[in-house]
């Protein structure tokens, strides 16, 4: 392996590292933040659709039930999350990287 090749490989490593570092420190947390916000709104959406899960009667649960086949995965996860109050605070805390 020539010297030029070795320098090339070295530079590639460094640049990948730097990109990874940037991604981990700056861009990923930013994406994550937006994604968490999106998840929160989705939770609100689920709550508005299925308040009867928590005993609040909903005049439109008859209609929102139609959405369930397409929301199965979200629904189960959401239900579990909502029932577990401790984890809700924990989840909120996750949005902040100290």
């Amino acid at each position: 392996m020539s010297l030029a090749d070795r320098i090339e490989t070295y530079r590639r490593h460094v640049s990948e590292w730097l990109r990874g570092l940037y991604h981990g420190l700056v861009s990923h947390p930013a994406y994550e933040l937006i994604e968490k916000e999106a998840e929160d709104i989705e939770d609100e959406f689920m709550l508005a659709c299925f308040p009867d899960v928590f005993g609040v009667p909903s005049p439109i649960s008859y209609y929102t039930a139609e959405l369930l086949p397409y929301l199965t995965d979200e629904f189960e996860a959401w239900e579990r999350r909502m029932w577990d109050r401790g984890s809700l605070i924990e989840r909120k805390g996750q949005q902040y990287h100290f």
Binding site: S27, Y31, E32, I34, E35, E37, A38, E39, I41, E42, E44, F45, A48, C49, F50, D52, V53, P57, S58, P59, I60, S61, Y62, Y63, T64, A65, E66, L67, L68, P69, Y70, L71, T72, D73, F75, E76
Partner: protein, 330 residues
């Protein structure tokens, strides 16, 4: 007269009789008429002595007259089955159980019946092109009023859901910049499509109920039904659905002059109080009284129905929109 005509009122005042008679009258005027019964205690079948089902069927012995009876119970069941079928297509069997409970529960809420009935209502309205006139014999006051107020209320609700869903998807898409696959996409999202579809349905229903429908209230000359009618008029006006007229049914017939027995005295007394009440109705309601129908000894059916139909002073001719050929005036 508008294409869709609703007859409402307190239980037992004779809505079915009046709406059947009106249907008959319309059919006799040459309009293809459909009578839709939404009362769970169906009696259209009794009036015409013929069993009707969920699909329009021609009424025997009458041209241009069709009838159907909506069974909300069955509608709820159909809706449930449809969702379960969609679930079978979409979801792995393992997950079905978790969701099943929720779906079942949604179909046992107090609103489920109303929603199912409402859906069928809208369905009938959407597929009523071949009829010139659709007469709705509705369930007693409370239920019907709630039903008619649904579109506006539900529209707002669906609107909010739609907004939330769109916002969360928008954020998911934003979070996916840099060539990553977003977790959810607005394009082809079945939830948005579904909600949009529902919203359009409610808008359609609201529009038809406000612009293409006429409402008549049936009452008897007694305090209870007069008061309930007053409340119904108020509520309907609140929803922007004006009442076109009142039908006073089951008025006691007056005895002949020369009769003086106990029965005749009783009838005369009764007639006097009823006349006062009818006067009271004419004075206190802004809506005009379109018919005063005497009570019959027998069940109103067959030829008696014709008589009642003649007594109805309700216009029959269709609205300008569909009135191309001259039809007989009442």
């Amino acid at each position: 007269m508008k294409k869709f005509v609703f007859f409402g009122g307190k239980g037992g005042v004779g809505k079915t009789t009046v709406s059947s008679a009106y249907g008959l009258k319309s059919a006799k005027a040459g309009l293809k008429t459909l009578v839709v019964s939404t009362d769970p205690a169906h009696s259209t079948s009794d009036v015409f002595d013929q069993q009707f089902g969920d699909e329009p069927a021609p009424v025997e012995g009458h041209d241009d007259l069709w009838a159907m009876e909506i069974d909300p119970e069955q509608e709820v069941e159909n809706h449930l089955m449809e969702i379960k079928r969609a679930m079978g297509d979409q979801v792995s069997p393992g997950m079905v159980n978790a969701i099943d409970r929720q779906v079942e529960m949604a179909h046992q809420t107090p609103g489920a019946h109303e929603s199912a009935l409402f859906d069928r209502f809208v369905d009938v309205m959407q597929n009523a092109e071949e009829y010139d006139r659709v007469v709705f014999d509705t369930s007693p006051t409370g239920g019907t009023l709630r039903l008619l107020s649904l579109p506006e209320f539900l529209e707002g609700w669906i609107e909010r859901l739609l907004h939330k869903r769109k916002r969360s998807i928008d954020l998911f898409e934003k979070a996916a910049i840099g060539g990553r696959e977003p977790r959810r996409m607005a394009e082809g999202d079945p939830i948005i499509a579904r909600l949009q579809e529902r919203k359009e349905m409610f808008e359609f229903a609201g529009e038809v109920l406000r612009t293409e429908s006429a409402y008549f209230l049936v009452l008897n000359p007694d305090e209870l039904s007069i008061r309930e009618t007053g409340r119904a008029v108020e509520e309907l006006t609140e929803y922007d659905l004006g009442v076109s007229g009142l039908v006073i049914n089951k008025v006691t017939p007056e005895p002949d002059e020369n009769e003086s027995g106990r029965g005749a005295r009783y009838l005369r007394d009764r007639c006097r109080t009823e006349r006062e009440r009818i006067e009271h109705i004419r004075e206190s309601f802004d809506e005009s009284v379109v018919a005063v129908i005497e009570s019959r000894v027998e069940e109103v059916k067959g030829s008696l129905l014709d008589e009642v139909a003649d007594e109805l002073d309700v216009a029959v001719e269709p609205t300008p929109k569909s009135a191309s050929q001259p039809s007989s005036e009442s």
